[in-house]
Amino acid sequence: MPVAVALAGGILLSDLLLPLGVAGGVPYVLLVFLGWVFPDRGAIFVLAAVATILTAVGYLYSPQGGVPWMVLANRGLALLAIWGTAIPLALVKKMQEALRESGERYRKYYHDTPAMLHSIDGEGRLVSVSDHWLAVMGYERGEVIGRKTAEFLSEESGRRARESVLPALLEMGRVTDIPYQFVKKNGEVIDTLISAVMEMDEAGKPFRSLSVVTDVTERKRAEEAVSESENRLRAVLDNVVVGIITIDQRGTVESFNPVAERMFGYRASDVIGRNVSMLMPEPHRSEHDGYLARYMSTGEARIISHGREVEGRRQDGSTFPLELGVSEVNLKGRLIFTGIATDVTERKRAEAELRQAQRLEGLANMSGGIAHNINNLLLPIIALSGMTARELAEGSAARERIEMVVKAGENAKDLVGRIMAFARQEKPGRATVDIYEVVHGVLELLPTMVPPTINTKTHLDEVAGSIRADAAEIQTVLMNLVFNAVDAMNGQAGDLDVSLSRVYLGEEEEAPIPGLGTGAYALITVVDTGEGMNETTLDHIFEPFYTTKEVGKGTGLGLSSAYGIVSAHGGTIRVISTPGEGSRFYVYLPLDDVSLRHRSRGAPPRQAATTTTHL
């Protein structure tokens, strides 16, 4: 301000002192230039106005002399000069301000934006970095400016930067989404994507870049997590012990895990893309499409179920029972059905055998109860009739009749006795007996038990061992089996084989005998070539009173009591039979002597294709 005043005063003075026309007003222009110094553009105009006034003053008060028109012209020129300077000057100042403002805005963005920005020069050196860049990397600005970007990258990224990225940027002027690994001051590595443009100067040389660095560490981690969980899922799917099948809403198979492959006998590639009904036997096959269609249109979950038992159809055409649970997944509007399948063939077999065992046990209990009641009723019949008989005349008809009643009662008592044998679970008179002796004792009677049309063969292991048993009961069992064999042959010619051997049931047995633990067993086998039994019969043979014989022939109690006796001794009876060919009965009795554990390893014949095994 003082400068302006001094300058103004000085010029005015010189103007006033000098004769007209000499200095003129032009020097007053200098005042205008002074306006440049002031921050406010308006100062220029103020000074221009002052200069104008002073020019006029100078004209009015400076010594006279000179040509009037020249003087006026001079003043007029001065005014022109003043304003001709002021206006452009003001404009220039305006532009400069605008430029500065935008520059400042730019700088503000650069430093405030929460993004990692940096700029490099043509040599790859950092010329500026945003505050966020410094915050993320952990450096101060002074540590960074002037150094090459590569110094802040991982070795691999640095190499790539030098060898390919920078050259590309310099040549093409831009790069997009280049993956770089930056290394923070603390050594931590971050994954980033970098995009940059290169500014060229007037000569076309690369001058300065603007680079944006995006931290994708989190994203990358998330991607890796997804990929890892996908792998984990795949590992699980491949290794679960159930079959997993996924289908779309039309029933087209989308996935088929290894267990499913084994279960159905198909490779995944055979099944994927085809309809799931190929895995079902009729009638389910045609029904399934109906289910699906109905579900899709009504949302009714007829096919969705938990642990439903269905039948599957293998590649070779065979069917098997499987447990199926179906659940629905909605993947972005697309419906996927996931089926979890478990082959329950073995379980069903075990269930069937358990049911059979329970049924027999139930029958045993019931029989026991009935037997008890009948015994009570037989008491008066036998005892009172007996007493009455004694009171009647010997030889009389009446006495004869009563004695018949007694006899009938005694027969009934025997019958009941056999029922009780079946129901009994105790160990009646048992002793350690040589199984060979026991079996041999019965076979001595074979000629009386077996008609001559039947050819008998025996194979007895004399040192099979001893069992803890009621010898009489075991003999009863064997006799029952022999009588059954004889009946099965119906008077025709045939073969009857009875053998005794020792077997060891160990853990390695592929098809362990249900109900029997490991250990040494005496195995009595009775084989006939009689009429055999079909599956229905086999299901019932050990039930009391079940008989295929005509009324009056046989009581139907032989096998049930035999089964009861053998069970009570800790053993079991197995049967294999083919209608038209014959039957084989296998009686297992636990041997008493542990020392014989490894003497013999025999196993019963496995299930042959055409025969059936039942308890």
Binding site: I370, L379, P380, I382, A383, M387
Partner: protein, 122 residues
């Protein structure tokens, strides 16, 4: 010729045993269940108690136990119906608890009388 108490819930069985024993000359009293039987025992002495094992209202074993508790020297013959499971075990238990002998139904006149003699002999 003995005084015998018959404890048996089945009417026909009770009648039959009574008939047999009566014909053989013994003196008989009857009881329908163990509780009544015990009452009878309190009222009078008996040479032998014949009791069924499976009865409602105080099972046979309990009856035998109780009789032995109150009358340690009482001779007892146990009868069994022979149909229930664990029958033999029960009979043996009965023996262990104090029944002298046991007999299984249905028996004949002679069989019962033999057992009664054996029981009375001790």
């Amino acid at each position: 010729m003995a005084r015998i108490l018959v404890i048996e819930d089945e009417k026909m069985a009770r009648y039959t045993v009574h008939q047999i024993l009566d014909r053989a000359g013994h003196e008989i009293e009857e009881a329908e269940n163990g509780a009544i039987g015990l009452d009878r025992l309190e009222a009078a002495a008996f040479d032998l108690v014949i009791t069924d094992i499976f009865m409602p209202v105080m099972e046979g074993i309990e009856t035998i136990q109780e009789i032995k508790r109150r009358h340690p020297d009482q001779k007892i013959l146990a009868m069994s119906g022979g149909g229930r499971t664990q029958e033999i075990g029960v009979l043996r238990a009965a023996q262990a608890f104090g029944a002298v002998q046991h007999i299984a139904k249905p028996f004949s006149e002679d069989q019962l009388l033999v057992m009664v003699e054996a029981s009375l002999a001790g």
